[in-house]
Point group: D2
Chain length 344, copies 4
Amino acid sequence: MKHNATTEHIQEVVDAIKDMGYEARPIPGGQRTAVGLLGNDGRVDSARLEGLEGVLEVIPVTHPYKQVSREWREENTVVELANGTRIGTSDVVVMAGPCAVESAAQIMDIAHQVRDLGATVMRGGAFKPRTSPYSFQGLGMKGLELLARAREATGLAIVTEALDPEGAKAVAEYADIVQIGARNMQNYALLRRAGRLGKPVLLKRGMAATIDELLLAAEYVLAEGNEQVILCERGVRGFDTHTRNLLDLTAIPVVKALSHLPIIADPSHGTGVRSKVTPMARAAVAAGADGIIVEVHPDPTKALSDGAQSLYPEQFAELMEQIRPIARAIGREVTAPLGVLTHG
Amino acid sequence: MKHNATTEHIQEVVDAIKDMGYEARPIPGGQRTAVGLLGNDGRVDSARLEGLEGVLEVIPVTHPYKQVSREWREENTVVELANGTRIGTSDVVVMAGPCAVESAAQIMDIAHQVRDLGATVMRGGAFKPRTSPYSFQGLGMKGLELLARAREATGLAIVTEALDPEGAKAVAEYADIVQIGARNMQNYALLRRAGRLGKPVLLKRGMAATIDELLLAAEYVLAEGNEQVILCERGVRGFDTHTRNLLDLTAIPVVKALSHLPIIADPSHGTGVRSKVTPMARAAVAAGADGIIVEVHPDPTKALSDGAQSLYPEQFAELMEQIRPIARAIGREVTAPLGVLTHG
Amino acid sequence: MKHNATTEHIQEVVDAIKDMGYEARPIPGGQRTAVGLLGNDGRVDSARLEGLEGVLEVIPVTHPYKQVSREWREENTVVELANGTRIGTSDVVVMAGPCAVESAAQIMDIAHQVRDLGATVMRGGAFKPRTSPYSFQGLGMKGLELLARAREATGLAIVTEALDPEGAKAVAEYADIVQIGARNMQNYALLRRAGRLGKPVLLKRGMAATIDELLLAAEYVLAEGNEQVILCERGVRGFDTHTRNLLDLTAIPVVKALSHLPIIADPSHGTGVRSKVTPMARAAVAAGADGIIVEVHPDPTKALSDGAQSLYPEQFAELMEQIRPIARAIGREVTAPLGVLTHG
Amino acid sequence: MKHNATTEHIQEVVDAIKDMGYEARPIPGGQRTAVGLLGNDGRVDSARLEGLEGVLEVIPVTHPYKQVSREWREENTVVELANGTRIGTSDVVVMAGPCAVESAAQIMDIAHQVRDLGATVMRGGAFKPRTSPYSFQGLGMKGLELLARAREATGLAIVTEALDPEGAKAVAEYADIVQIGARNMQNYALLRRAGRLGKPVLLKRGMAATIDELLLAAEYVLAEGNEQVILCERGVRGFDTHTRNLLDLTAIPVVKALSHLPIIADPSHGTGVRSKVTPMARAAVAAGADGIIVEVHPDPTKALSDGAQSLYPEQFAELMEQIRPIARAIGREVTAPLGVLTHG
């Protein structure tokens, strides 16, 4: 309460809290009185209290999220994929592939390459969210089919993005993980649908999203009954023009402390510059990420999107070599490569 | 090009540009050579060039957007509503109403109040995007019906938010303006649908969106054939905790110079604090906004959402009194109030 | 306290607070216990408490500043200059002039022009803080002398920047107001010296400074016995490249509520773009600024620094015409021009 | 140039460039003409050109800095300290110690502890820049003496902050490295003085400083003849409240590519939270930092400043154990501990 709040103001706040179904406890202090709200179940709309006269500030003491929190569930959630990849264990999972699916040849070529280099999940966009309506928007359903064929040929699990509720259904039929991109982190219709698809969800942090907002977005998915959510730090909006985004790696230990969900990092979008991807992939693993997702293209100079941040296959090979001892240095292992192919 | 780029590197860039269908022009300089790309129609994917060896930087000289630009259309776009309100003229339009539609009584009460005080458009959320899945999510279809009834009773035009493509169809049936919120500024499925609804669209700037990104989001709507788009500055993510967002009023003259579309400001979300709404509404009008959209609630302390930033009706009355002479000071007028009611 | 804090943890916090000389009051809640610290005089170092086991968060309830606060002094501080200009009244003060003093002819020319157009204070840098060591650094002492001569000729008061403690002494001898720039907002040696110079201080907000940090920087000046401090909003670091900085005009009503000190706005640095200066000057006045400081140059295309954001004298004339009715619209007046010159 | 710029406008730009002593080259394009400025020596003031009519944008193609750049000097600068520590080699240097020197007992105790655990440089503030004038400001000269005594007893090199030009002289007499803090990154008087002290300088990145601004600040020191500069990433202003700052580790590979100067990271200030220091120290080493600087206190709960981000000695021991294999994983080594003490 403000230091000049009257007894009436305080009583008004107490009444409002009771009216909302909670218990109120005034705490008189030297310069001002505080009023505690007890029994907060995460549904309190603090705005109503802030609007009362004499109120200086409403300070939340419990977190607004619930099922995503470590207090709700102590042990790590482990997301399990059909090809045996498990995310959220002591293993560090590597997801790799092109920004966009461009052709059967491209996707099959890169699938074999990243698989041979040790990735167990392949990324590749069929539906591409592009800032400009005139940029390449992806191959759509055709892209999903090509991804499924690449999975069949290599054993890789597939992660690909869904842009809207209908698209999400199609993606869930073809992919192992449904990705929700940074631009859609607060697209609640999409989050809810993702919660009912029965497939793991990769949820990327929005450009200006706080960590609490990221966790609350995940809460939308869990609230629909889907606990198989992987969070992803991919850089927030920064002011320096040397990089495309500002990769906030501290978010990794912060999320690990607040939530039981696994979190991975995307150093490709997080930096936007090919030469910075490998150092930041190393840093992400060292910071405790449960995995990384990186863009690799058979020929980045010909990529239809995001070529400047895509690694050449030989750079990806080097990245893999560098992150393995770093994972080991903190008592983890990069997930073992998929077994010898019997077909493909 | 980098200062140590070879003739081969330069030729490679020239070839890539030609391969993409444009003309290339090398420009040798003292320390380095630049290569110009001529004929850029806004569809060039610069990433492909950035990835070539010897390339230092790709610098866009033409804007990536097209139909939204002043170069495409010199004169201001004027958005016309059924009740005669015109946005984008010398008139300053006032949109007011509660954050959310809560009940028939609330919405009818506030509709009459804001109408009598001079607003010509009423805001009010039927579908509410909420950070937490456990917060009040709006009355949905019931809310749309109440808004339509309030319009009938008062003559106010209605603006309300659509959260997803399906919802947008329903909103377009009931409302005069379909709002796309900040969280959905890059929800392309929604933008495209909004471009085909035949109703004006109010597009809010995303939390971390650059002005170019805002214009490109609008371009998605125009590209579908809908030129009736109103842009809205509502604050970007800032670091100061005294306000909820950082209202970027300079965006108003910047957008006016780049685009023919009208732009309004939302000082309610832009500040998040009731006592700052009126000063910033004044500032928005002084900066050249084509209108403002403000939250007014019959009893903000009982509001189900955003109560702390909602004005009391008497504060809104004061706001109206203050912005009128400011509009006049820069040669504009606040839109005349709606005529005497014949019903209601 | 954390929800699993033990009685011992709580006792440890209570003991630490007592050890620091304050009173402690444990407040048991439903899920966790809070401990209140009573008698906080603004000197509590919360870090010591944050470090104790079982502590979840230390939430400051009183502001860390003191003499700058409205609670310390209810009525507005009015800064009075030798030429009769008073800052912090209902008058809106206009400070204008070139970025840098370049020559006797330039400064005398522009001084007469801005005076005739209604400014009562002239800005002009003698010591220039430049991002690059190779940029023009100002005329130094020679510049101060030219400013003093311009004052003598026109009656304008002078505001100019000091870059270090020694320089501040020289500036104070020649100028009416000692400016501390954004880069030096937390240069405490300079702030303390400024507090002992016996001249008003214009303190600009740092690029990434919160409003509390700005007020605390001012507190350094007041703590030395100098209450004649004018605050200045000049834009914070933003991410959009259409403007040089992000002018945070909401800081004006926020500061007015928290502090008794006057606050002005700098739309020249705040935008960095000539064509945006006048709209944002209007907006600043409408938001309640006690004045504006703008760059005007006799020939901006030849300016040695910041030419792109300097107004032409005829643009400044227009600005003055536009802000006068806006000031009046909110019950204020732009300070009356200085009387007829008897010399010059 | 703008697309409607006339031949006269273009000629005006060409003339202005020649007038500034450079060569101009107009480059006609499809939609608009560009004008190249050749021979830019880093001293071009682009503002003068931006102000000309018909000019759309001035795009710098060469970097504004010079001596700090890799183009100026290809091989890494190695900073050498009296105790043999070399910064900028394949060794990863660890600097550790309390935020502030508090007493002879405290500093001697922690010096021995961090030395025994492998640090070769000790940090500790004698002059403390504090946001509030009422916070503990450091022991001053007394603090410098205590640091010198600790050096004598342990062989550790000393890094401590200077707040103003005079203080810098005193610091240089006692310390091995003169630190310039984030708040003073653009305090040019201090930077220049630091350039003439004959001692290595640790320059911390400002809260909102771009990487180019950091390099330009270093250029001030080099321009005075001092090449012994160590840069330090310590977090920029972010919007998330879970951490105190946003540690921008990507700055490390970015700086390494642009400059020959060594760069270290400060995970203590970069996160502000004790439990996040070790993960981010690991990440910094993995990203390629030439060293880290961390706060360690014998009893953080009793620290007079920054206790919440100071490690307990046993946590520092763990940190050392974790970064050693990470350094090795990328072909580096944490600097070998100082030899057995013959005294102390």
